[in-house]
Amino acid sequence: MHIAEGFLPPLHAAAWTAVSLPFVVASAWRINRLMREKPETKLLLAAAGAYAFILSALKLPSVTGSCSHATGTGLGAILFGPSVMALLGTIVLVFQALLLAHGGLTTLGANVFSMAIAGPWVAYAVFRSAQWLKAPLAVSVFLAAMLGDWATYLVTAGQLGLAFPDPASGTVGAWLKFVAVFMPTQLPLAIIEGLLTVIVVNLLTQYSRDELDALAFAPGGAK
């Protein structure tokens, strides 16, 4: 989901930064309040951030013969709510933009929007819907993490489509073109992200019941 440095025209770069900024500010405010009200969840929040750090560092091979990485933002989104991930995801993206020349500062706003805002919100919405439909916890977690990952890439493709409309088929045509570039790689990787997130949630329900209860996550101790 990294749009490389300088690869969005200045106007688009500025617009996405303006869109993302309020989310990141709200996220900082939300985390601050969470730490005040539920300080016992501090370490779990750090662990959720660490999870995003790990997954976005591992570039995995896909059956298409290309490589990409998962996002790891679904876990924090379903545990803490999506708004918390805007800041955590931004930290990951800044690290990669400054130290790895991966993504960039001019495209930070756009990358934050796809990975740290859109992905987590989709993951959260999917999780809540699946839980509401009484799906088992593992299924809800899997779907949330997987679809959150896909959403990130669909949004990235959309951002590129808006900036570089196809001369013949317009923005939608360009969007489909970018989807065709990203999705085949991302489909299997999102499944991996879904499964890994289920593993972590399994461990959490076993060992971190207190914190999950404080967050009202999967009440009733799902097994």
């Binding site: 440095e5 500062l105 590129l160 570089f164």
Partner: protein, 106 residues
Amino acid sequence: MKRTNLVLLVIVLALTILPLVLPLPAGLKEPFAGADGQGMAAVTEIDPEYKPWFEPLWEPPSGEIESLLFALQAALGSGLLGYYLGLRRGQSQRREQEQDRVNAGD
């Protein structure tokens, strides 16, 4: 629970290793290139005139240094996550032991 996680882990490993073992799709320019790079290549395909207007402030001077930093990122993340899970596992085990002792003392 342990068993479920083991099965899930095996599936994850299989999904990761399979692409390396399976024959590559025909007509690949570069095996296992990054999808991000392919995305940016698609930009220049749609708009050949487009030139990135900003350069990264700093770039890892070599592939080795880049892999060092990626490994550092993963290591920091796994260190923290492992610390957290180990700590909570130890705590919940101790709590169970104390519970057993209380029950035995009755």
